[in-house]
């Protein structure tokens, strides 16, 4: 029998607020353990949660980025369970009345066609403390770090609309782009600000029934997500084919062995309305203010880039996928650089250079004005591409203007025909065999001679002129 996978995702996103969700402690989970704590997030007797307006705004922006309807009223519940990472005995979460419902995202399916994936709802919740298990001598000890307790999260629950690992991976990529765009989170699976759990069930192809699902956790990259889902589909298919029933449970992805293994049944406690955190009532005016803060989102920006700057679809998508890059691109183009040149140089030179230096676009000291200055010299034939690459790496190391670097290093391109003719003469004289090869029809000898001439100029010759002069002199 042919089976079809039904996949839904539960995605936790850590919001990049300055403070925690219910107190004024800094939202910096990575600090020295238990540094960012207070009577509220340690939940000492007499503490009262103080809901952060910034958390609500960042959460709402994320909801808008996912095309959700923000609910007029939402409320916090106590998700009751007893575990050392949650010493107040309940987690504040929105179980009954989530912040937003009914969103969607467009992904590109395996066939290249767009597909809509529904978002069931988005709710806010606080993160719990982090447990660190160690041994002191031979005694195992568990330490609790409260820096993460109360860190603001949103949980995004998709509809079970995905059918393949590819679609799930795509959904996470698009969701990440959207949420990064509105600035609510860095959405990094590697550093844990984006955590994805997948619910997977199978059914005979062509049927519409929802069968028992299995939850898979512990994937810390998009690739692992795809691998884990693929493995789980395979495992469940084998089970069904051998007549074993699928039981509801949770499995952990093991990235080393590339398998999922069943984990101990997780206790799921009740959710009761919290009597102390006030209900959230969203006014039209507030919602309008939030909506007006939405930037131009990537899909629309890509369309504009294609139309306004004549970029191909792929180029337009690439230049709009990250907000910082898209703004960088527009700043460069705004300084008169040809959009195609800008795209090419950003994609093939600037971004790899950033990756090499582990920098983000925003962190880079090579601001758009200096990068545009470099490309402008290239476009005016003042330097050649080879020199431009060298100058780009100098830009990362100094604060100097590209023109100053060019002057100092003498990289300015030689476009003076008489000077170039002199160089070419010398090259022809020194490479008689290549010249005769060329005359005997070995066309690649021309490339060799151009290379020799470039080298003789210290890499500064205008390669186009060299080629013209060589061709003329060889009488081709």
């Amino acid at each position: 029998m042919q089976y079809e996978a039904v996949i839904g995702l539960e995605i936790h996103v850590e919001l990049n607020c300055a403070t925690k969700m219910f107190c004024d402690c800094p939202n910096r989970p990575g600090d020295e353990p238990n540094r960012n704590t207070c009577p509220i997030c340690l939940w000492f007797p007499g503490a009262i949660a103080k809901f952060s307006g910034e958390a609500l705004e960042k959460a709402a922006m994320a909801c808008l980025a996912l095309n959700c309807r923000i609910q007029e009223r939402s409320a916090f519940d106590q998700k009751v369970y007893y575990y050392p990472d949650l010493p107040k005995g309940f987690q504040l979460s929105q179980a009954h009345r989530p912040l937003a419902r009914d969103g969607w995202l467009d992904i590109t399916g395996e066939d290249g066609k767009p597909k809509k994936i529904g978002i069931h709802h988005v709710h806010m919740e606080e993160d719990v403390a982090k447990l660190v298990h160690e041994t002191e001598g031979r005694t195992p000890v568990s330490l609790v770090d409260f820096n993460r307790a109360g860190v603001p999260l949103v949980e995004i629950v998709t509809e079970p609309d995905m059918r393949s690992p590819h679609e799930a991976m795509e959904l996470v990529r698009v969701l990440r782009t959207q949420i990064r765009y509105v600035g609510s989170s860095e959405c990094s699976m590697e550093s844990g600000t984006l955590r994805v759990d997948a619910n997977i069930s199978l059914r005979p192809k062509g049927t519409t029934r929802m069968n028992t699902k299995v939850e898979v956790k512990n994937m810390n990259s998009i690739r692992h997500l795809g691998d884990a889902i693929a493995y789980e589909i395979q495992r469940q298919t084998a089970s069904l084919q051998s007549g074993e029933p699928i039981v509801l449970h949770t499995r952990l992805w093991d990235p080393e062995k590339k398998v999922t293994t069943a984990m101990r049944g997780k206790f799921s406690g009740p959710c009761v309305p919290d009597p102390s955190v006030p209900q959230i009532v969203v006014s039209d005016a507030w919602l309008r203010a939030m909506t007006s803060k939405l930037p131009e989102m990537p899909a629309r920006k890509a369309e504009r880039f294609a139309g306004q700057f004549g970029l191909g679809r792929e180029e337009a998508v690439m230049m709009s996928a990250e907000r910082d890059l898209s703004e960088y691109f527009e700043a460069v183009v705004g300084r008169g650089i040809n959009p195609k040149t800008a795209t090419h140089w950003l994609a093939t030179q600037f971004l790899p250079a950033l990756r090499e230096r582990r920098q983000s676009v925003a962190e880079s000291t090579v601001k758009p004005d200096r990068f545009a200055g470099l490309l402008a010299m290239l476009e005016r034939d003042e330097i050649n591409a080879n020199a431009a690459r060298g100058i780009l790496s100098r830009l990362f190391e100094t604060d100097e203007a590209p023109s100053a670097i060019v002057e100092k290093s003498g990289a300015r391109q030689i476009s003076d025909t008489s000077a170039l003719e002199g160089i070419v003469e010398k090259v022809l004289a020194a490479n008689a065999s290549a010249v005769s090869d060329f005359r005997n029809g070995v066309s690649k000898a021309l490339g060799f001679l151009i290379g020799q001439a470039m080298q003789a100029s210290g890499g500064r010759a205008n390669p186009k002129l060299i080629r013209d002069i060589l061709t003329k002199k060889l009488g081709a």
């Binding site: 007797p45 007499g46 009262i48 107040k88 005995g89 309940f90 009761v272 102390s276 006030p278």
Partner: protein, 399 residues
């Protein structure tokens, strides 16, 4: 240093300036109200050796107004009921001019009634709960007991009002607590609920009658009203209260403060043993009831929440027809100080807990009911935010 009345006695109460609104007034607190540096054990082993880290908002305001905080009286475990509570004695024996009492079921009003004192529970949400180590957040309120209304009003004036540290406080216009409120909005029409009188023994009923004639003599117009749902107040309080208590007390794990079991195999057993050894039988039973509704019968809890909304509405409707409702405060056969099971506690507070379920202000007035042998007290429950008018009405009755 503890005494039979105080679990903590401030050895050198501050000598305040003379300019504060409460300058020199001696105020007794309960050990679940945070005073920086004072033990705050809330009558429970679960908070053994816990010392408050900062002042509750109410405490900060009392200090600022020049009140002298004399110490913590003894209280029932986590403020549930009045068993072992010594607050009214602290007043009767002259240790303090007034006392703050956590009123969850009616503790302040009943404690006052048993001692012939005034007891006032304000409208829910006008006094900050920041720093109050509570049990049932949606029902409990700081309340004031004193020998006369003239002490309660200025204390309320000081402690009521917005607090940015308590986000659960609605944005309300707080009434000004004056006792000369005889204007157009003064309380005139008072209802007596048939269903509440039906809960009285003939003896209690007789003892309550003088309060009604006193009201009429003082110019209040009385009428009998009916509220068919009245008996649901208790059920709703018990279900919602137990669930909230179960959540609130979930944090007492004996790890960072409080009693911790001597040995355990693992953390789970440590929790279980510490909690088993910490809580008294009454609180344990109440927490079990709450856990039952949380884990096993959530539907019943949801029903209770819905019924609570209906009861709030019913009281609102009733208070649209009259200015206040009169109840006895206590019944003779149901002494609160001896009630040590959950059901006995609920029996003892049957006539006061409606104000906690609805969040309405309620005032216990001494000396107007009673047959010489037993004073059931007179309790007036008023509209939301009619706090000052209730106090004025009480004062009028004693004029």
């Amino acid at each position: 240093m503890p005494t039979h009345i105080f679990s903590y006695r401030e050895p050198s109460p501050s000598r305040p300036g003379t300019d504060g609104a409460l300058s020199g007034m001696k105020v007794a607190l309960q050990p679940n109200m945070s005073v920086r540096g004072w033990p705050a054990e809330a009558g429970s082993k679960a908070l053994e050796r816990y010392v408050a880290l900062e002042d509750a908002t109410v405490v900060e305001r009392l200090k600022h107004a020049g009140a002298v905080l004399v110490g913590n009286t003894r209280m029932s475990e986590l403020g549930f009921g009045l068993a072992g509570d010594t607050t009214s004695r602290a007043l009767s024996e002259g240790h303090a001019d007034c006392a703050l009492v956590t009123d969850t079921l009616g503790e302040a009003r009943v404690a006052a009634a048993t001692a012939g004192l005034w007891g006032f529970k304000p409208t829910y949400g006008i006094v900050s709960r920041f720093g109050l180590i509570g049990l049932v957040p949606s029902m409990e309120s700081y309340s004031v007991i004193a020998a006369n209304a003239g002490v309660i009003a200025p204390v309320m004036q000081v402690i009521a009002g917005r607090d940015e540290r308590d986000f659960s406080m609605p944005d309300l216009a707080i009434p000004e607590f004056r006792l000369d409120g005889n204007g157009g909005d003064a309380i005139r029409h008072v209802a007596v609920l048939k269903e509440s009188l039906a809960l009285l023994s003939p003896e209690d009923g007789k003892a309550f009658l003088p309060a009604l004639s006193r009201l009429e003599k003082a110019g209040f117009s009385l009428r009998e009203e009916s509220m068919a749902e009245f008996d649901l107040f208790r059920t709703v309080h018990q279900v919602v209260g137990a669930v909230e208590a179960s959540s609130s007390a979930g944090k007492y794990d004996g790890v960072r403060y409080g009693h911790r079991a001597a040995s355990a195999k693992n953390w789970n057993e440590m929790y279980l043993k510490s909690r088993a050894e910490s809580f008294g039988l009454t609180v344990k039973a109440y927490l079990f009831q709450g856990a039952y509704f949380q884990f096993e019968n959530y539907d019943a809890f949801e029903d209770a929440c819905r019924i609570r909304a209906r009861l709030v509405k019913a009281m609102e409707n009733l208070l649209a027809r009259v200015d206040a409702v009169a109840f006895p405060t206590q019944r003779k056969g149901h002494p609160a100080d001896k009630a040590e099971t959950v059901s006995r506690i609920y029996e003892a507070f049957l006539l006061t807990l409606a104000a906690n379920v609805t969040g309405l202000p309620a005032l216990q007035i001494p000396g107007v009911a009673g047959d010489g042998a037993f004073d059931p007290g007179l309790q007036l429950v008023g509209k939301r935010l009619s706090d000052a008018r209730l106090l004025s009405a009480g004062a009028r009755l004693h004029r």
